[in-house]
């Protein structure tokens, strides 16, 4: 095993920062009171939650009354889609989304089919970005919701959220965006972008796992997902995860402080990596638009080899990354996102995603660029798909 850990999988999850941990600590064993109680350690917990709510609201230019804490980004997506669908079914039962959404959105839409809802999955273009005209064409009389992710979790492509927001507003259709990957990487203003519902998750920006939030614009007609106690203004039952919520507040405040500067740093790492890989490894494909992508996202396919094998070799060098191969998804199908951008199955199996955070350094990238090419060469030499007569190395 390697002595160091070079962590290039920040789209999967991030390390909880010291500031976030410190802010959470008191709410685990000092101010542990149930926020619904009347005594001081309960009242103080409640106060801390409200401060966190204001921080989340400020980060996306919402009102704190429009922020509801959840147990995850997935819960926020489920709530947004099921909640709007069930509350507005008398108006119509049609939903529009894309074919590259996170499973939290796709599987929720599939589930709603049981209740007579229909979903149009608008295909993205080869660059991994949806054309707003295709969304427009999918709109029907009975469309009640458009759900399009802000940025894709696998290939990092940034969707035309402003244009979709304008379209939805003009057509009087609710607009939800899964912004789980975008928070802290792209400035987001829900008012300017005409967003009605937005999902986010703390652990993607150095906050803790198990806490997220849903922004619900004032006036949006939405049913509850969880039924029980009167927490979150009777909108989301469950005793509040005080420490988690406080951690989310601290994390989002830090993550959204100076986005352009951080994005510039990540973009530099990204470009260095992509250029270094292209220079040193033949038969490589860069997935997703080269420009309109998350500043810290690299996603490439190496032809003739399979992704999990690459990851296992990288792990031996202490490098953490991920892949969209079937073997890493636990099914026989490779990533739906890579298939959606038109890659054939055998190439999609050979994908590698590297997602950086501001803690990564150029030295770490140099190490990756030194170790990866021989791994690829070695696996290709073992592959029956690799035609040696075409071999350049």
């Amino acid at each position: 095993m390697s002595e160091h850990t070079y962590y290039f999988d920040n789209s999967a999850t991030t390390k909880v920062s010291k500031e976030v941990m410190d802010s959470m600590q008191p709410y685990l064993n000092e101010i542990y009171g149930n926020p619904s109680t009347i005594y001081s350690i309960g009242r103080e917990a409640k106060k801390a939650i409200e401060i966190a709510r204001e921080k989340v609201a400020k980060a996306i230019n919402a009102d704190s009354k429009e922020i509801f804490f959840t147990g995850s980004g997935t819960e926020a997506d489920n709530w947004a889609i099921k909640g709007v669908a069930f509350a507005n079914q008398y108006k119509g039962k049609h939903i529009i989304t894309t074919n590259i959404e996170h499973h939290a959105v796709l599987h929720t839409c599939e589930y709603l089919e049981k209740f007579g809802f229909e979903t149009t999955y608008v295909p993205v273009k080869e660059n991994g970005i949806v054309d707003v005209n295709d969304i427009k064409d999918a709109i029907r009389e009975d469309t009640i919701l458009i759900s399009v992710m802000f940025a894709n979790n696998e290939i990092g492509t940034i969707q035309p959220i402003k244009e979709i927001g304008e379209l939805a507003k003009e057509k009087n259709i609710y607009f939800h965006t899964d912004a789980v990957q975008a928070i802290g990487h792209i400035p987001i203003d829900v008012k300017e972008l005409n967003i009605d519902l937005l999902s986010l998750s703390a652990h993607k920006f150095h906050g803790p796992k198990g806490v997220g939030a849903l922004y619900v614009k004032n006036g949006v007609n939405i049913d509850n997902l969880l039924h029980g106690g009167g927490q979150e203004k009777r909108r989301r039952a469950s005793t509040e995860n005080t420490a988690g919520i406080v951690g989310l507040g601290t994390a989002i405040e830090i993550a959204t402080q100076d986005i352009p500067k951080k994005a510039e740093y990540l973009k530099n790492l990204r470009e260095k990596t992509i250029n270094g890989l292209i220079e040193n490894i033949p038969d490589i494909i860069v997935n997703g638009d080269r420009e309109k992508r998350l500043p810290g996202n690299v996603n490439v396919c190496f032809k003739y080899i399979e992704g999990e094998s690459i990851l296992l070799h990288l792990d031996q060098y202490g490098i953490c990354a991920s892949s969209g191969s079937a073997c890493t998804s636990g099914s026989l199908e490779p990533s739906h996102v890579l298939l959606a951008i038109g890659l054939p199955h055998e190439i999609a199996h050979g994908s590698l995603r590297l997602s950086f955070s501001e803690e990564n350094t150029e030295e770490e990238i140099d190490y990756l660029l030194e170790k990866l090419p021989p791994i690829i060469k070695n696996l290709r030499n073992m592959s029956p798909l690799y035609n040696k007569s075409n071999c350049k190395n």
Binding site: E306, S309, L312, C327, L332, E346, P384, L385
Partner: protein
Amino acid sequence: MEEYSQKVMDHFMNPRNVGVIEDADAIGEVGNARCGDIMKMYLKIKDNVIEDVKFQTFGCGAAVATSSMVTELVKEKTLEEALKITNKTVAEALDGLPPIKMHCSNLAEEAIKSAIEDYKKKNEKKE
């Protein structure tokens, strides 16, 4: 994710018998690229005994490890003995596989069977 056994990792990191036998007496290929794994086995057979075996594999860690292990299991065995090797034999020899990876051991068994079948077909023609 469930961990691979040390033996799987050993055969993955240092696979035995990788490559091509140019004048192979039999070749077997199973799996398909669509599903993310292909195994190709090359056999050199003399007097009903597998004298040499090499493989090429496109696939995950378990696919590579099971390919490597099965080549060790069949080397210097008679065809009858080689045909008795099952997916279970391969998995056990590797100290087990995570449940979702068991299909990789099927491929290893099938690859050997496919190669031996190829050999038998070729020999029928000769006779």
